[in-house]
């Protein structure tokens, strides 16, 4: 039965249309990933809107592909111009750029892309192995556990994404939870904070909010800093030498993969932390730590393996608990809901094959990523030379189109702008946006019923029922 299902999914992925959509999505992800300022979260958010009308299988394939492409693409700009395309590649730049300065840019890109490929596959393996037991455990959760899980997710995300100031992360997450309460209440159909606006009575739609939160600030900053970047030169890829270096880094890649997956499972931490921790672990265990920061191949391999393994790690709680492990995974979770899937504890009983589907999508996307990443590296880096004053208006138009096509509602475009301003304010005042988004996603989980039951179980029942207290 399972083999039949796997065969069906592989057949679907290998259809020409699917391969074409996946190749385009990986390419889009690579381009967005390498453009400084445009993050993987934004890439997935933008494509969620744009793929809304596609069949769910095709849309999810496309989103997984763009997620993998964007996290991997960041390494190219990090290595060639010392500007990480995404925060996930920040650790790659430390040793990647000195490698490029030595005239080995091509080798650096080969090592980073191949390590990304390995990391993605390791993460995929963990999705297969860890999702079912975690989902079975989650089946034992009741309403109050889910309420606490939602609160925990938001708080831990706030704690970990706000750097030295967790209070700001918590505030951001709580405001997100509050925004999720806007609209008709599920029990009494009471319009909460909708100010008489019919559009708000259905609640605040997720996609325009996340496009606004993550896309708008990048666009506004891009319009202000209108500098063109220098043309990039990349040397030959040096496959043979690269494979030799990777063979010497087997242990490094395995360790970085484990770190990446563990970091991915923790809600809200994300690929950037995974990259840094893997880099740090490799540096600490190295016999020549003094080489790090001066173009050590091991540093690039560790950072890229770690951040890509984090993708699989972040998807594990998405599928099993409906709690995202990173900001792009949060957007992916929203996209799964949007396409009618219900990730969470019931996933293994309602759609047991979905874990295989996701794993196959990730595996084939990883293969597409390594092929496109290596073949097109010389072409794609030229996009870095496009001025942001040209690029950003195009991105904003795509943002508005992405928000509009979901409900064909102009109101959603207004929301992009409004939540974009909120995102801009959050960033100016050093508040992380990821807990805000996570609050909106997990808000419905922490509904009034959960709160009410929690209240009953924790406050009323212990006082009134001696049996319970026993």
């Amino acid at each position: 039965m399972e083999w039949q299902y796997i065969y069906g999914v592989i057949s679907f992925v290998l259809e020409p249309t699917s391969l074409f959509v996946m190749a385009i999505s990986v390419f889009f992800g690579l381009v967005v990933g390498m453009l400084p300022g445009l993050t993987a979260t934004m890439a997935v958010a933008l494509l969620t809107g744009l793929t809304y009308r596609l069949a769910p299988e095709m849309a999810i394939l496309s989103l997984v592909a763009v997620y993998i492409g964007a996290i991997s693409g960041g390494c190219q700009s990090a290595i060639l111009i010392n500007i990480p395309g995404t925060p996930a590649s920040a650790a790659t730049a430390v040793d990647g750029f000195p490698i490029a300065q030595r005239g080995e840019g091509g080798l650096g890109i080969f090592l980073a892309t191949t390590a990304s490929f390995f990391g993605t596959l390791a993460g995929t393996l963990c999705v297969l192995l860890l999702t079912p037991p975690l989902a079975l455990l989650a089946l034992k959760f009741g309403a109050s556990e889910f309420f606490l899980l939602a609160l925990f997710g938001v708080m831990i995300c706030g704690q970990l994404t706000a750097g030295t100031d967790p209070l700001k992360g918590w505030i951001s997450g709580i405001i997100g939870l509050i925004v999720a309460q806007i609209g008709l209440d599920g029990m009494n159909a009471y319009p909460r904070f909708s100010f008489g606006m019919v559009d708000l009575m259905a609640g605040v739609p997720l996609i325009p909010v996340m496009i606004g939160l993550f896309g708008f600030p990048e666009i506004v900053y891009g319009l202000v800093t209108s500098t063109a970047r220098a043309q990039i030169k990349s040397s030959a890829l040096e496959f043979k030498r690269g494979f030799g270096i990777l063979m010497k880094n087997k242990l490094n890649m395995v360790r970085s993969s484990i770190i990446g997956v563990i970091i991915g499972i923790i809600p809200g931490v994300g690929e950037d932390v995974a990259g840094w921790l893997s880099y740090w672990a490799e540096k600490n265990s190295s016999k020549t730590p003094e080489k790090f920061g001066k173009g050590a191949y091991e540093g690039v391999v560790a950072a890229e393996t770690g951040n890509n393994a984090c993708i699989g790690g972040a998807i594990i709680p998405v599928l099993s608990l409906a709690v995202p492990g990173s900001a792009p995974a949060a957007v992916l979770l929203a996209a799964l809901w949007l396409h009618g899937l219900r990730p969470g504890p019931l996933l293994m009983s309602e759609t047991p094959g979905f874990v295989y589907t996701m794993s196959i999508y990730m595996t084939i996307s990883a293969f597409t990523m390594i092929i496109l990443g290596l073949l097109l590296s010389k072409v794609t880096v030229r996009i870095l030379a496009v001025k942001s004053t040209i690029l950003m208006p195009v991105v904003y138009v795509l943002c508005t189109v992405g928000a509009f096509v979901i409900d064909n509602s102009i109101f959603d475009i207004y929301l992009v702008f409004v939540f974009g301003l909120i995102g801009l304010l959050l960033r100016e005042m050093s508040y992380p946006a990821a807990p805000f988004l996570l609050g909106i996603i997990l808000g419905p989980m922490a509904t009034i019923i959960c709160a009410g039951r929690l209240f009953c179980q924790m406050v009323i029942l212990p006082r009134s029922s001696p049996a319970r207290s026993v």
């Binding site: 009308r53 900053y221 319009l223 202000v224 096509v405 102009i410």
Partner: protein, 159 residues
């Protein structure tokens, strides 16, 4: 962290006022619907508002402890003065205003290809992104591509 203390001070005041309004509103919801408080539509919002209030007070206490009330107000006034004169903030406001123009005026009123063409030519022109001919060409390619892919291939309605 200390760089934004005056922001924290203002933000904390805003959060405290917002959470107090929310608590009152949440209580009003419970009164409107009737029944026990924990089953009212305002229960969850009240819990969250109380959490926000606590966070607001913590932020206020920290900002006052670090800078004092008077210094925070003075720093904030200075920031407003600097913000108004800085070129980057003026560019940011201009960029934001053009995006607002497209979002609230052009996109809802005109067909997609007209509104987007006007927006792109206008914003790239104002920001001196490129020459006028290239500007028009880029706009035509972008609008044509989006229109072709969404409207003609996927049959997706555009704004």
């Amino acid at each position: 962290m200390e760089k934004n203390v005056h922001f924290d001070f203002i933000t904390s005041l805003f959060l405290i006022i917002l959470s107090l309004i929310m608590i009152v509103d949440s209580y009003q919801m419970a009164v409107d619907v009737g029944g026990p408080l924990y089953a009212s539509p305002g229960m969850m919002t009240m819990v969250l508002a109380v959490l926000l209030l606590i966070c607001g007070f913590l932020l206020l206490r920290r900002s006052i402890r670090l800078n004092g009330v008077g210094q925070n107000v003075k720093d904030f006034k200075e920031w407003i003065h600097t913000f108004r004169k800085a070129k980057s903030s003026q560019e940011m406001l201009l960029g934001g205003a053009i995006l607002a123009l497209y979002t609230f005026i052009l996109a809802p009123r005109l067909p997609f290809w007209i509104s987007t063409s006007i927006f792109m030519v206008f914003i790239m022109g104002i920001l001196n992104a490129t020459s006028i001919i290239k500007n028009v060409l880029i706009t035509a390619v972008v609008v044509g591509s989006i229109y072709g892919v969404f409207q003609m291939i996927f049959h997706v309605p555009l704004p």
